[in-house]
């Protein structure tokens, strides 16, 4: 017991003081992303997740077992560009990545801005994006990312957002084609024509020789 305690103390002492201070100020049992309810799960699972998160703090426990599914959401790949006047997707529309940014009203997420609904004023996040990124990197190094609150710099958020947005290159989505150059698009049919012409060549040459090397030839190609 004593040895395990000693080992845990020594492992804690390895964590950078900045991260330790942050975790002391924002205890993971109240603030961490693991406590936040996933959009498609009820609060009961959230409480169980709290327990698992406190018992086994590494990042694996913080990751939801199944990715949140949104059947009504638009395709995560490039939107339909055939529609005239393609607009950028609404940034305020609900999405899988945005649903990860959870803030408990009781314990406001220090990584997210918050609105005072009485005055209607917005307040910036307690920890800015630059410091968030630093904390996330630090936590990831010690495999403690699951203990941090949900934020735009978390690996999970970034992965979800990337999946939503797709490659953002025209033609790479499902059911889309990269347009390419004309010679690339017509390559197949041209090669097919050439192959067909070459198979018919001996017969053509035989006919041509038969008709006096072009004297009786009727089918001249068009320019």
């Amino acid at each position: 017991m004593a040895t395990t305690q000693a080992s845990s103390i020594s492992s804690i002492s390895k964590i950078p003081i900045r991260l330790r201070n942050f975790l002391a100020r924002y205890p993971p049992q109240h603030y961490s992303a693991a406590v936040a309810p996933t959009p498609d799960q009820t609060t009961t699972t959230a409480t169980t997740k709290t327990i698992t998160a406190t018992a086994t703090p590494p990042a694996e426990s913080a990751e939801p077992a199944d990715a949140p599914s949104f059947p009504t959401l638009p395709s995560p790949y490039t939107p339909n560009r055939d529609a005239k006047g393609h607009k950028r997707p609404d940034p305020t529309a609900p999405s899988a990545s945005r649903s990860l940014l959870y803030s408990n009203p009781e314990f406001p997420n220090p990584f997210l801005p918050r609105k005072n609904f009485r005055t209607g004023k917005w307040f910036g996040p307690v920890v800015g994006l630059r410091r968030q990124a630093e904390l996330v990197k630090m936590a990831a190094k010690y495999n403690l990312e699951g203990l941090l609150p949900a934020g735009k710099k978390s690996t999970e958020f970034k992965e979800t957002r990337r999946a939503e947005r797709g490659l953002q290159i025209k033609g790479t989505g499902i059911g889309q084609k990269v347009k390419g150059h004309k010679w690339e698009r017509t390559m197949e049919s041209r090669l097919e024509d050439r192959r067909k012409a070459m198979t018919e060549m001996p017969e053509m040459v035989r006919l041509w020789k038969q008709r006096g090397h072009g004297r009786g030839w009727k089918k001249w190609p068009r320019r």
Binding site: R190, D193, R194, K196, A197, M198, M201, M204, V205, W208, H213, G214, R215, W217, K218, K219, W220, P221, R222, R223
Partner: protein
């Protein structure tokens, strides 16, 4: 003003029948029958039939 007389010879285009888009340009007497010959096509790397292309598709 007198109409400009046509030259005795004309430049013609001989198109490879291998459908490679390769062609050769030759000069022949205007009164001569259309040219056709076996020539090397570097795209298919073979001797193939080359036929003279008619302007406007009119066979002579």
């Amino acid at each position: 003003m007198a109409k400009k007389s046509k030259s005795r010879t004309m430049a013609v285009r001989l198109i490879s029948m291998a459908m490679t888009g390769y062609y050769r340009t030759m000069i022949r007497p205007r009164a001569h029958r259309p040219l056709s010959m076996m020539k090397y096509d570097p795209v298919v790397k073979k001797q193939v039939l080359f036929l003279e292309a008619t302007k406007g598709g009119r066979a002579k």
